[in-house]
């Protein structure tokens, strides 16, 4: 369990990314007889992990390393996978993408029992990370490598505290005593945090004891104990507090996994446009889902900006063009360009009116859910000089001069309505003549829509031009992305070609339903994974993303209209138990999006509440808890979101800890179905009790 510093902090004595990667290659090539299943990559289901997996797979493919990619949906899935992995004797490299940072992977629950030649690489953007993963050394520790982004350099205090607590013996116990006493002293701290998080610096510390006072002679031992190794009570307390503060301040996100992979590719000197685009998508995903703040985004954006110009040099006359006029210069033009993006949702693929209507920022400022707000929106558009028919045209068909003026007009007129900061710097990619250039945010929307709802649920998408009675065949068609791909597959021969869905044969019972659910999720995962590099399914997925947003707006406006938001002492609760889109919102990803939309929409209308945190210091924020009923399994999916008061800022999400504590207090039957501790699935009957307990937990802060 060591952490790898990023290459710019590396030195001869501290190996960085390139060395770790070289070690993977060496291990693979050293054992040709068993290399077939020696590298396994476990991928979490979010866009960032998908991009990172794609970059890594590309690098491994170029190096002829045979590998295997397995999607993993949550902690339970990971446990099951771990049991299966224990049976593979040939495995020597395991790579975890966007999962596992918080778990103590060297404990017996996880990978501590695996063979010594297994190396586990953890590339995770979730923070906080388990300190044992980062700092524990020793022969057991060398097997787990955390790819760090430079943050660990600033964690010197936490490191000292953790090492002090782990390696030092108890002050008033015998030098030879076992560490059972240490366990009991630390138990009060361990109770606060659930076992799910695997926080156990009391782990296999028996081994580490050998680093301490094993070899000293009696006298020396006594003398040294008196002087240096005996910690005072106060020191112990401060160390405990420091570590508790690290773990207890909520969850936040560090450098995206795809950025880490991109840095690896840079060090190996193998970057090209595709990898750059994937890294950009990972970063944009983090920004649009409010995982990182605007400042962090700008910092990474400038790095990618330079990279774009390095890899895609533009001829000088084109470079001076307005950014709206990005066009492909040739049929094979696949370059990435820097562009200023507007905060409107899927702006280039929708009508202007729709894009503004569906973006949460505009919705919040103008109050879109009321008729008055919609009038204000049309008023704004009219003031800018766009006639109503023009705004109802899909963007591609709008007048050219209007498109050019759009940005300028917005900058001048929008501040009257309170809409400032409408643009942010981003990137767009050309796809030759096959499709119009696609912005990074739009691509992220499309991919995450595929991840959430590509299959397993009926989604109606709109046919372009079907509005206002344009089409004869009705306004919508069913989304068929997943199925069609399968049916189109050619019948190779009569023999093996009946492409029936194997699932249909297999399930016949409730268990089968769950398996179906899992296979739908896996299919979505691969659909999204393929769409990352193929423009045709990506473009199709845009219409899916649009209908997803429409559903979110529908639900969001009805919530606000009906005043369904209950204000508790420290947070706000919304419970969805009926509605046309209930099945849709039973997915945690979609529900999280609804929560984010609500936070953005209500940002200015609601006063922030102080959330204390474990230390009593509080920053004002907008905590939201959204719950939705899953009728099929009779459970509620609960998502906790910590919104910040300013647009572009983020807060650490403390709902993970709060949920765990509330769950323990009221003994609710629930489980965490994803890697995020702030997403919970709870039995229907226990919801009310759980929500009440959550309030009590909040009061304790």
């Amino acid at each position: 369990m060591v952490f790898l510093p990023p290459p710019h902090l590396a030195s001869a004595s501290r190996p960085a990314y390139a060395e770790a990667y070289a070690n993977i290659l060496v291990a693979h090539r050293r054992s040709p007889l068993t290399s077939a299943s020696s590298v396994i990559i476990l991928v979490a289901p979010d866009v960032d992990a998908l991009c990172a997996a794609k970059i890594l797979a590309e690098l491994l493919k170029q190096d002829d390393v045979m590998h295997r990619i397995i999607p993993v949906s949550g902690l339970a899935d990971l446990e099951r996978m771990k049991d299966e992995l224990a049976t593979y004797a040939e495995l020597h490299t395991l790579i975890l993408l966007n999962m596992g940072a918080i778990l103590d992977l060297s404990s017996e629950n996880w990978f501590g029992e695996f063979s010594m030649k297994l190396t586990v690489h953890i590339i995770d953007s979730n923070r906080p990370q388990n300190l044992a993963n980062m700092f524990a050394g020793g022969e057991n520790g060398e097997r787990f490598i955390v790819w760090d982004d430079g943050e660990a350099e600033n964690m010197g205090d936490e490191r000292k505290a953790w090492e002090a607590l782990t390696y030092e013996p108890e002050p008033d116990s015998d030098e030879d005593s076992e560490l059972n006493d240490e366990d009991s002293v630390r138990s009060n701290e361990g109770d606060d945090l659930d076992d799910d998080e695997g926080f156990s610096d009391r782990g296999p510390s028996g081994k580490r004891r050998s680093l301490g006072d094993g070899d000293r002679s009696q006298e020396k031992r006594r003398k040294l104990d008196d002087q240096s190794t005996r910690l005072s009570r106060e020191q112990r307390e401060t160390h405990h507090k420091l570590i508790a503060k690290y773990y207890g301040s909520g969850s936040w996100y560090g450098q995206s996994a795809s950025a880490t992979m991109y840095i690896l590719a840079t060090v190996l000197e193998r970057v090209d446009c595709d990898l750059l685009w994937l890294a950009i998508l990972g970063l944009t995903f983090q920004y649009t889902t409010a995982r990182i703040s605007r400042n962090t985004y700008d910092k990474y954006h400038s790095i990618y900006y330079d990279e774009v110009f390095r890899l895609n040099p533009l001829p000088p006359d084109v470079a001076a063009n307005t950014t709206d006029a990005i066009t492909a210069m040739s049929p094979d033009d696949l370059s990435v360009r820097a562009a200023e993006d507007l905060r409107f949702m899927l702006f280039r693929h929708w009508t202007l009116y729709d894009a503004m209507y569906h973006s949460s920022y505009v919705a919040g400022k103008l109050g879109i859910w009321k008729e008055r707000g919609r009038k204000r929106l049309t008023g704004l558009l009219a003031k800018m000089g766009f006639s109503i028919p023009q705004t109802q045209q899909p963007y591609a068909h709008m007048d050219l001069d209007l498109k050019h003026q759009l940005r300028a007009k917005l900058n001048s007129i929008a501040p009257e309505y309170g809409l400032v900061e409408l643009t942010y710097p981003s990137f767009a990619r050309c796809f030759g003549y096959r499709a119009s250039p696609l912005g990074a945010a739009d691509a992220v929307e499309a991919v995450s829509a595929l991840l959430d709802v590509a299959g397993g649920i009926r989604m109606e998408v709109e046919v372009e031009g079907a509005r206002h009675g344009g089409e004869w065949f009705g306004g919508g068609r069913l989304w068929e992305g997943g199925r069609k791909g399968e049916e189109k597959r050619e019948k190779r021969i009569e023999v093996g070609s009946r492409q029936k869905d194997g699932d249909d044969d297999v399930d016949a019972d409730v268990d089968g339903e769950e398996r179906k659910e899992r296979t739908w999720w896996v299919k979505n995962f691969w659909a999204a994974y393929d769409a990352l590099s193929d423009i045709v399914p990506l473009r199709d997925a845009l219409s899916l993303a649009m209908s997803l947003h429409r559903a979110i707006i529908r639900q969001g406006t009805s919530i606000i209209d009906k005043q369904d938001i209950r204000t508790m002492r420290s947070h706000r609760v919304v419970v969805l138990s009926q509605g046309p889109d209930l099945a849709l919102f039973a997915h945690p990803g979609v529900l999280a999006r609804l929560g984010l939309w609500l936070v953005d929409a209500l940002r200015d209308r609601l006063p922030g509440t102080k959330i204390g945190g474990l230390q009593g210091r509080g920053k004002k924020s907008l905590p939201f808890v959204v719950a939705c009923l899953n009728e099929r399994t009779q459970t509620y999916v609960v998502v906790g979101i910590m919104g910040a008061l300013d647009f572009g800022d983020v807060r650490r999400n403390e709902f993970g800890l709060a949920f765990i504590e509330a769950k323990q207090r009221c003994n609710a039957r629930s489980r965490h179905s994803t890697f995020d501790a702030s997403v919970l699935e709870i039995e229907q009957e226990d919801l009310k009790l759980f929500l009440e307990t959550l309030c009590e937990v909040g009061e304790g802060y």
Partner: protein, 194 residues
């Protein structure tokens, strides 16, 4: 009705079936009844030719019909054998895969199954002589571009032993593997190339 039928009528039906099979590009069920009736017709004709001593015009007609029936029977069987052989080669010589498929198995006669088995044995013997240099059951329509190929598992095929170790293919995962090792699985439809 059988009495008033023309000679060679049944044979024409058999040929029509072969033609239908070619036009629809499917293997039809082995028409055992028709074959047996034609053979019965042959026997009757043979009996009729034996009775008379001299060469009469009637005998000429019987002789022509007998020869024609024989020719039609042979054509039908050859047509089926060709189809079976093609099927064998397109699956890359995976005989158990063909024979375990109930659709196909139901359409074959026992003799055809024997034919497939013996044909497969002959090919195996032939191929074993130079399997180090050349694998004749590999596909020739798509030349391999890469040493490794990324595959997606469509159907569970369990644990496969390859030269480089064992690989456990599970549904819904992707693997990068040596092309030579799993080519036969792609052809049989368990894996899909990405």
């Amino acid at each position: 009705m059988t009495d008033t039928r023309q000679f060679g009528d049944l044979a024409t039906q058999l040929i029509a079936e072969s033609r239908r099979s070619t036009l629809t590009d499917t293997l039809l069920k082995y028409n055992d009844n028709l074959v047996r009736s034609i053979i019965r017709e042959q026997r009757d004709l043979e009996k009729m030719t034996e009775t008379s001593q001299n060469v009469t015009p009637a005998m000429l007609i019987y002789q022509t019909t007998i020869v024609r029936n024989k020719r039609c029977l042979l054509a039908y069987h050859k047509h089926r054998m060709d189809r079976l052989r093609d099927m064998y080669w397109t699956t890359g010589g995976a005989l158990p895969h063909i024979l375990s498929n109930q659709d196909i198995r139901g359409k074959l006669s026992p003799h055809e199954v024997d034919f497939l088995r013996q044909y497969s044995t002959s090919v195996m013997d032939y191929r074993a002589g130079f399997s180090n240099e050349l694998d004749i059951t590999a596909s020739i329509t798509h030349p391999p571009k890469d040493l490794h190929v990324l595959v997606h598992v469509i159907r569970d095929c369990g644990i496969i032993q390859t030269e480089l170790g064992t690989i456990d293919f599970q549904k819904g995962q992707r693997f990068m593997v040596r092309r030579a090792d799993i080519e036969h699985l792609i052809v049989q439809g368990y894996l899909e190339e990405v």
